[in-house]
């Protein structure tokens, strides 16, 4: 199993390696010509890069999978959340990149690291809060025995948006490097367009994970119906652990 995972990660890395070379040469190509074909090529590669980039570790896939595995969600929700995460993820990267580049410029990386650490701190605290919220909600519903009748849509939407915000708030370094590379070549419009298409690609991957999780939840519907309460608590606990894990890595970054 470990071997399969490493082979998968290795393959993802090789694809990113190839795409990294292709996208840099394409963007440089766009430096020499403003042809639509060149722009379209760069954007197509950025999309593909986004799809593959998000398939590697991170980007909230684990959180999305845990969240949707607890049942009572639909494919549309999974798709929406996947894209919300990707959009927030990309916007935070673009905004921070532009601000850091034009304000701090020469100390770009050091400042980016600091911004990232604060964003990760906020992200981990939000993730822990979501886990606690899910547990409290499950316990209260169980107590009131209103689980089946209660219209939960608004509440659920709130937690979904929180999920998107908590994960997306950390700027995506992949988007950031592409954006900065374009800025350095004075391709400002291309930097924004590349960030958008890359986030569309990332959103697709994250959405697919969410959709697979919904499929899994539906396939185990009987179990979920009987033990949904336990599953929701478990999901909340795992999300809290994920947040704590992330928080510990932020703490390590701060003390270093």
């Amino acid at each position: 199993m470990g071997n399969l995972y490493n082979d998968f990660i290795s393959q993802i890395t090789l694809w990113q390696y190839s795409l990294n070379k292709t996208i840099s040469s394409s963007i440089r190509g766009a430096e020499d010509t403003n042809s639509l074909v060149v722009y379209a090529t760069v954007l197509a590669i950025a999309f593909l890069y986004g799809v593959i980039h998000a398939a590697g570790p991170g980007h909230g896939k684990g959180l999305v999978a845990l969240y949707f595995a607890k049942g009572k969600n639909n494919y549309k929700d999974a798709f929406t959340i996947g894209y919300l995460i990707a959009i927030v993820h990309a916007i935070s990267a673009v905004v921070i990149t532009f601000v850091l580049y034009f304000v701090f410029k020469t100390m770009f990386r050091q400042n980016f690291n600091q911004f990232s650490n604060y964003a990760m701190l906020a992200s981990s605290l939000l993730i822990i809060a979501i886990g606690i919220y899910l547990i409290i909600k499950a316990v209260l519903e169980k107590k009131k025995k209103l689980k089946d009748e209660e219209p939960q849509y608004n509440q659920t939407n709130k937690s979904k948006y929180s999920i998107a915000l908590s994960v997306g708030i950390v700027p995506c370094p992949g988007v950031m490097t592409i954006v900065l590379f374009c800025i350095l070549l004075k391709k400002f419009m291309l930097s924004i367009l590349a960030a958008i298409t890359m986030s569309i690609g990332m959103g697709l991957t994250i959405s697919i994970v969410g959709i697979l999780s919904v499929v899994f939840a539906r396939r185990t519907e009987n179990f979920v119906n009987k033990r949904g309460y336990i599953l929701e608590i478990l999901s909340g606990v795992l999300i809290i652990l994920l947040g704590v894990f992330l928080l510990s890595s932020v703490y390590t970054s701060f003390i270093n």
């Binding site: 490493n6 890395t13 990113q16 950031m176």
Partner: protein, 175 residues
């Protein structure tokens, strides 16, 4: 200082990151009668990361790295990588040897930032293999057969060590 350890390495985003920096590794093997004496390494950093690094490396913006800039890069960006054994795990008779690079030099080749350094080894070719990998900084080390220059026969293979994937350079034909 520690922030800079993440150097290349761009962004310490742990769960949120994966390789954003790719290093093409070019080893030149110096040998004498089946004894590996020294290996010279050249790290060629990918185009995108190189552009970012150039902003910080070429402080006087003259398009090249002078001695003062080289010392600054070595001290603040390269030496901290000793924590990670410079992504180079040298095994002699199955014992891991600390990587001690010498003659570090950073320079630009076209659009790329390149590091060069050498490591003295002094071991029989059958006793040594080297694994190249990074588990901490989201750097992908890329080693291909055609990247190596060696008079001694050599072999490149991918090694899955459960917690990481490495490229292995060896000189002994496996049975």
């Amino acid at each position: 200082m520690k922030l800079k350890i993440k150097f290349l390495l761009l962004f310490p985003l742990f769960l949120y990151a994966h390789p954003h920096t790719f290093i093409d590794l070019y080893p030149i093997v110096i040998s004498e009668k089946n004894i590996i004496k020294t290996i010279k390494f050249k790290w060629e950093i990918d185009d995108i990361s190189s552009q970012l690094l150039k902003m910080e490396f070429d402080q006087n913006m003259d398009g090249k790295i002078d001695e003062e800039e080289n010392s600054y890069i070595e001290k603040n960006y390269f030496e901290p990588l000793s924590t990670y054994d410079f992504y180079t795990d040298i095994m002699i008779k199955n014992i891991s040897i600390k990587t001690k690079p010498k003659d570090f030099k950073a320079f630009f080749v076209g659009d790329k930032v390149v590091y060069s350094f050498k490591v003295d080894i002094e071991a029989h070719k059958d006793d040594i293999y080297i694994d190249f990998y990074d588990t901490d900084n989201f750097v992908a080390i890329v080693l291909k057969k055609e990247f190596v220059i060696s008079l001694v026969d050599y072999y490149i293979k991918g090694v899955d060590n459960d917690f990481y994937f490495a490229h292995r350079l060896s000189f002994k034909k496996e049975k």
